[in-house]
Symmetry: C2
């Protein structure tokens, strides 16, 4: 069932069917109803292969990100745009913020622009409540939805994820092997990615024979001064810890500042591990050991997968990429 069948049955050209699909006003009301009638009869849904054939396509991809000023997402936008351009596609960028209502509104706006696909950059787009993801699952029947570091198991949704669980698991295991006993864990959110990271931490402790202590696990705003203050107040309350792991480099910068404020030597008395290996992790003295989440590779793979979908090839619903541990000066492995 495709656009050719509709065109033949309706007795109009493919271009006319395409015009009806695109909502082009230059189609008579009579022709439009005829085409719509045939589509209903045949149960036709415009599909991604038609787009791949250059029919009904604007060669434009919508990109959504929750915050383009975040260093990780800023890099992702840069790489996605570059890869799409190299494949002859333009991109329309929407910075959505984090509220579900805004995300849905921007998503609808991209659909109304008749983009060929939507890329959701970052793990903030998958909601904890299943019903809140229904709008993505519905839309994926009509156009491919690509998740960069998020996962949703549904037809038409393609995920490229970094193996955050392994990354944190192996870093924590190295801390434990080097003798650290009280590893504090700071995280910013319980997104898809955030949940995997936290689980990696817990699994490493369990496998390393250490207890999982709730008093060592804390949520913190993604802000270096907030992280510094939180650690200072935890220490003032008598909490002891010999390592800090974080879900984001900004929190690790706060941990370095905490150690400086208390004259604690890094890494001897306190080991610190960041996440994302962003520019922030290079600004401090000592520079922060961090996890390179391969954002460039994630973006290249996302666009390659999308081109595979447009080409009608056999494309995996989920691709996982391994992270790298970047040893700098806040760990002594």
């Amino acid at each position: 069932m495709n656009i050719y069948d509709v065109s033949e049955r309706a007795g109009v050209s493919i271009a006319t069917v395409s015009r009806v699909l695109n909502g082009n006003p230059n189609v008579s009301e009579k022709t439009r109803s005829r085409v719509m009638e045939v589509m209903n009869e045949l149960g036709y849904t415009p599909n991604v292969f038609a787009r791949g054939l250059g029919l009904n396509t604007m060669r434009t991809i919508g990109i959504m990100c929750s915050d383009s000023s975040d260093p990780y997402l800023a890099n992702a936008i840069y790489y996605l745009e570059r890869e799409l351009r190299a494949n002859g596609y333009d991109s329309i960028l929407c910075c959505t913020g984090t509220s579900l209502e805004n995300k849905r509104q921007y998503f609808d706006l991209l659909l109304s622009k008749r983009v060929d696909a939507v890329i959701l950059a970052g793990s903030k787009f998958i909601e904890m409540e299943e019903k809140d993801n229904a709008y993505l699952i519905d839309a994926a029947r009509d156009l491919p939805i690509m998740l960069v570091n998020g996962f949703l198991d549904a037809p038409g949704i393609y995920s490229t994820v970094c193996d955050d669980h392994s990354a944190i698991y192996h870093a924590a295991a190295r801390l434990i092997a080097s003798g650290r006993k009280r590893i504090l864990y700071l995280y910013t959110s319980r997104s898809y990615s955030g949940t995997n990271k936290l689980q990696g931490y817990k699994d490493a402790l369990r496998d390393g024979g250490l207890p999982i202590r709730p008093e060592l696990i804390h949520q913190c705003a993604k802000d270096l001064h907030a992280a510094r203050s939180l650690l200072l107040s935890l220490a003032a309350e008598g909490l002891e810890f010999d390592a800090v792991m974080t879900s984001d480099d900004s929190l690790a910068v706060g941990a370095v500042k905490y150690a400086h404020a208390r004259n604690i030597s890094i890494p001897e008395e306190l080991a610190i591990i960041g996440y994302n290996n962003s520019m922030l992790s290079y600004c401090t003295d000592p520079e922060i050991s961090s996890i390179d989440t391969k954002v460039e590779e994630l973006c290249i793979t996302t666009v390659k997968t999308l081109m595979g979908v447009f080409g009608g090839g056999d494309v995996p619903g989920k691709t996982t990429i391994a992270a790298d541990f970047i040893q700098k000066q806040t760990t002594n492995f």
Copy 2:
């Protein structure tokens, strides 16, 4: 002379003229030639007011930036996108890199998408050679071109700039007033903005009665480790300096690292001033005094000016916004 005149003289509707302008295929060859003929006779050029009336508009603005992963430009994109959206416009983002050839190619691509205006974010789009800017001046006859922190004096080009000269001038004057005699200046590029900053430094020295020493002025890659190495090698050659001013926070981070490496006390023995007041300037210990270039205000003003142009109002060709000096821990004023 406007679209109404063309429609009247050609004996077709305004919608038909608009269709011809948009290259819509649903116009007969006969009608198209008639409309084109009349446009030639009348010397008609589609103008921004027609777009403002909702004729011939996609309500889409092209944004070009040289590098979306740069923290300053990443923020600019975020604010521009937000402001455009609030005014009902979508944006198409192109990350161009810095070669003139690529910039021109992306610019043509945006024009071919029939965007309603192009915003050039950052000062990397104005070339030193006048002839290399001709393509912008030509294009500005057909659609508004907005420069964020760049300046080009031509009809249809609207600039919103931060007063970089004053910002550096006043910061340098404060260093001189506080007794600094040998102020090193590190800069990344001789763009429009870069040239103004350097001139601000020179003018402050001159007005403060200090000689302008070429050995104290150095270009450096926008990389904190490059800045650190450069300062270490200059010091090894015997160069003396009691303050470092920079055209970008990343270089100031390198200056902090240089001081740490040599056990130089900040700010007593060495004062350091960054530029842009980005997140980087908050990561170091001590945190870096820097210049807030008001990127949010610049972007709000740019979009406001653009809406003024679309509305046909009287709009200034250049708007200047003052920067703020943010005193932190690397200066002792």
